[in-house]
């Protein structure tokens, strides 16, 4: 197996693939649908779900992200798209710009892509009810003849930085699918917290 699927497939032992969003209601699942059609995730997050061909992925323990969605795209390997919500993105700073710089020093570190990451766009956005930072980046691996385009959106939950990110993998001569980026934008644009985070509760409760 090629090595850039690993972020998903090597986590097979800890990743639970739930069949698509079109099967609401089972008590085993960490999410439910609201009457408005949004997903309520573990009674903590609410967001607009992507179309049903996107499968939910969730890291049970020790993972790099909390949960997200994956779609295997048409076309040769490694055509796939994935986006996630991450409560603990790489880096330590609580300042968005600085955190963005720290993040991209380690983002996709397990692939050769990190050596050739180019920032294509960086702009302020409104996310999670406050100011955020959106960064679009691309990297190419001429040896494996693969490329990846990514969009990362940094926002704040209390004092801490959280992130949403999309990665779209393609053969080096492949074409990116902008619709995945639009779906991702709807995801983070609709995302909201239904309760305080662990860290907010930790410092506020006596």
């Amino acid at each position: 197996m090629r090595r850039n699927v690993p972020m998903l497939l090597c986590l097979a032992s800890v990743v639970m693939m739930l069949s698509a969003c079109a099967t609401p209601g089972t008590t085993q699942k960490p999410y439910k649908f609201s009457q408005q059609g949004t997903i309520i995730w573990e009674d903590e997050f609410e967001f607009k779900p992507p179309p049903s061909e996107w499968r939910i992925i969730q890291v049970e323990v020790g993972g790099e992200f909390g949960f997200g969605f994956l779609k295997v795209d048409s076309g040769p390997f490694p055509s796939q798209s994935m986006f996630v919500y991450d409560e603990e993105p790489f880096g330590c700073s609580s300042e968005l710009g600085e955190r963005g710089s720290e993040f991209f020093r380690r983002y996709l570190w397990s692939t050769a892509m990190i050596a050739d990451m180019q920032i294509l766009e960086k702009k302020k956005v409104n996310v999670l009810g406050g100011e955020g930072l959106a960064v679009v980046a691309e990297a190419r691996d001429p040896v494996k003849k693969e490329k990846v385009k990514s969009k990362v959106v940094f926002g704040k939950r209390g004092d801490r930085v959280v992130a949403f990110y999309l990665t779209q993998w393609r053969p080096i001569d492949g074409t990116y699918d902008p619709s995945a980026f639009e779906i991702f934008d709807r995801f983070w644009g609709s995302f909201r917290f239904l309760k305080k985070s662990f860290y907010q509760t930790l410092v506020e409760d006596p």
Partner: protein, 108 residues
């Protein structure tokens, strides 16, 4: 270690300090700390005696390499080990424990 760095202000709040211990040499640790922007102390203990005194030995999962297991230990101001857990740090568990200790007056 990045997780500890993110939590430094919370450790401060609960009157705790964090120190990392590794069997790597000083030069390696300096580069590593710089790459992760770590600002708390890292102790180089190449013989591993410090870890051994807390029951940490070579990882049984990785044969033939001097890779030591990970253990998180919380020591109170009297030098008593109040918390010890193997594996990757459970930061929420650690913070809840520190908060409880701080509340009880048994400062870590």
């Amino acid at each position: 270690m990045e997780g500890h760095q993110r939590n430094l202000s919370l450790y401060d709040r609960f009157n705790a300090r964090v120190v990392g211990v590794s069997v790597d040499d000083v030069t390696t640790l300096k580069f590593w700390a710089k790459s992760l922007d770590l600002t708390f102390p890292l102790l180089s203990n190449v013989t591993g005696f410090l870890g051994a005194s807390f029951g940490v030995g070579p990882s049984p999962e990785i044969k033939g390499f001097p890779v030591f297991s990970r253990r998180t230990v919380i020591i109170d101001t009297k030098g008593i080990i109040r918390y010890a857990k193997d594996g990757s740090p459970d930061f929420k568990d650690i913070l809840l424990f520190l908060k409880k200790m701080n509340k009880e007056g048994g400062k870590p």
